[in-house]
Symmetry: C2
Subunit: 231 residues, 2 copies
DNA sequence: GTGCCTTTGTGAAGCCATGCACAAAGTCGA
DNA sequence: TCGACTTTGTGCATGGCTTCACAAAGGCAC
């Protein structure tokens, strides 16, 4: 008998909400740094760049952490969101592929401050192996499985060339990893139960180019549009 | 009198579709490299990692470029999507902030191959100014407005620390730029008519952590879930 | 204590996106 | 020329997300 089980959301938090929680967390940290104790949904929504009703509905999925008439306690909300996202624990991350992007990621401060610890840097190129980056020594990717197992790596970042990505992906999955962040410009094929998220730096630029082109050649104020509406 | 004009989509291409066009383009380029002449929606959808019905509906927004019974001509579709995205023209891009990430972006091959030309690298740090990266010389960000105007920069990439991002943003907008790609972990405030897209490297990791935590502490096969369903 | 004021949490409605399923359209072999 | 087969393009139903609008809930002043 097969049951339909809502994947990865036993408490039913919508994916769209999960994707925004980090945004709220960042805004809250900013408020906390400035010593703000409580914040209304209106103000927090402004800081996070979203609609306040959406913010309230998002937070309501986590529980009733606000006080009517007052707002949300900044510190308490930071803790609750962090806990929900799993950031109160320490995540060991391995970065495979130490090119320009891999180096940038290794040095990126946003990881460490959010419970992510870079536990390994690996590359297939002997010329790179041995380099010291962000306090770590680059290791040869032959030892990928050993690094994953010995250091409890649960999330792998793939920053290799496109040609190597699928192979690396297969190996880390075989080694037990089920969460992959892919920067290589390819679609990775993975079995069920493995989460892949991808970031393609050029896609965002292409989307911008689309809108920019529209502005130039056929923006809202162009004569043809009005003609089109009239006809 | 104010009219509600559907922003930036005179031909009504949904944002969700626009966001996937670069994906199709990448898959098509892969097919073209292997010498494939035509491709069915089924095969292309597989290569792009989407549903074939969705692919067909997306492409139908551009026009009727397929042949029933045969499929899509790879080269022709590459051209049509490129044209739609505005990639048949040359876009001058300036990168502000030449830290690790800025360097990685400057060297990223995915830009040049898609009609994006890095026309300027700028940084406020005198220690970085003068460095040679990817065939360019890093200039001081004092000259930001001049670079934008003289070199016809229409898209600016912000890769500065969070504290400097809004100021840079304001300046490039004042200089006439209306398309911004923001890597700084901060919500930029911009006037109407300016497009901002953001990439936050740590957000994706946090989303992965959320799902990873669910797998470990409360995955679909855990006893508590069944108890919960029974109770 | 009481009543006013602020702000949350949420029902309800509308909108957009997804995916099925099929008719229309075109190819290809005979 | 014709018929069978393949594949596109799309109407339609479904589901999820967003947004509005408001009742419920709590604080605060007096």
């Amino acid at each position: 008998m097969i049951r339909r089980i809502p994947q990865a959301r036993e408490r039913g938090i919508p994916d769209a909400t999960v994707a925004r929680l980090p945004l709220y967390l960042r805004a809250l940290n900013g408020l906390a740094e400035r010593g703000t104790a409580t914040v209304s949904s209106e103000d927090l929504a402004l800081a996070a760049g979203v609609n306040s009703a959406k913010l309230r509905k998002d937070l309501s999925h986590l529980g009733s952490y606000g006080t009517r008439g007052v707002g949300y306690d900044v510190q308490y909300l930071i803790y609750q969101i962090s806990r929900e996202l799993g950031l109160t624990q320490d995540w060991a991350v391995a970065i495979v592929g130490v090119g320009n992007l891999g180096r940038a990621l290794a040095n990126y401060g946003g990881f460490v401050s959010r419970g992510f610890r870079v536990a390994g840097l690996l590359d297939a190129d002997p010329a790179v192996v041995g380099d010291h980056i962000a306090g770590l020594t680059v290791e040869h990717s032959d030892g990928l499985e050993a690094v994953i197992r010995k250091r409890g790596v649960s999330i792998v970042v793939i920053a290799t060339p496109a040609t190597a990505a699928q192979q690396v992906c297969d190996r880390v999955i075989a080694a037990g990893v089920t969460s992959i962040l892919n920067f290589a410009p390819v679609v990775l094929t993975v079995p069920d139960g493995v989460d892949v998220r991808k970031v393609d730096l050029s896609i965002e630029l292409q989307i911008l180019a689309f809108h920019e082109q529209r502005k130039v050649t056929g923006g809202p104020m162009m004569a043809e549009d009005w003609a089109g509406e009239a006809g």
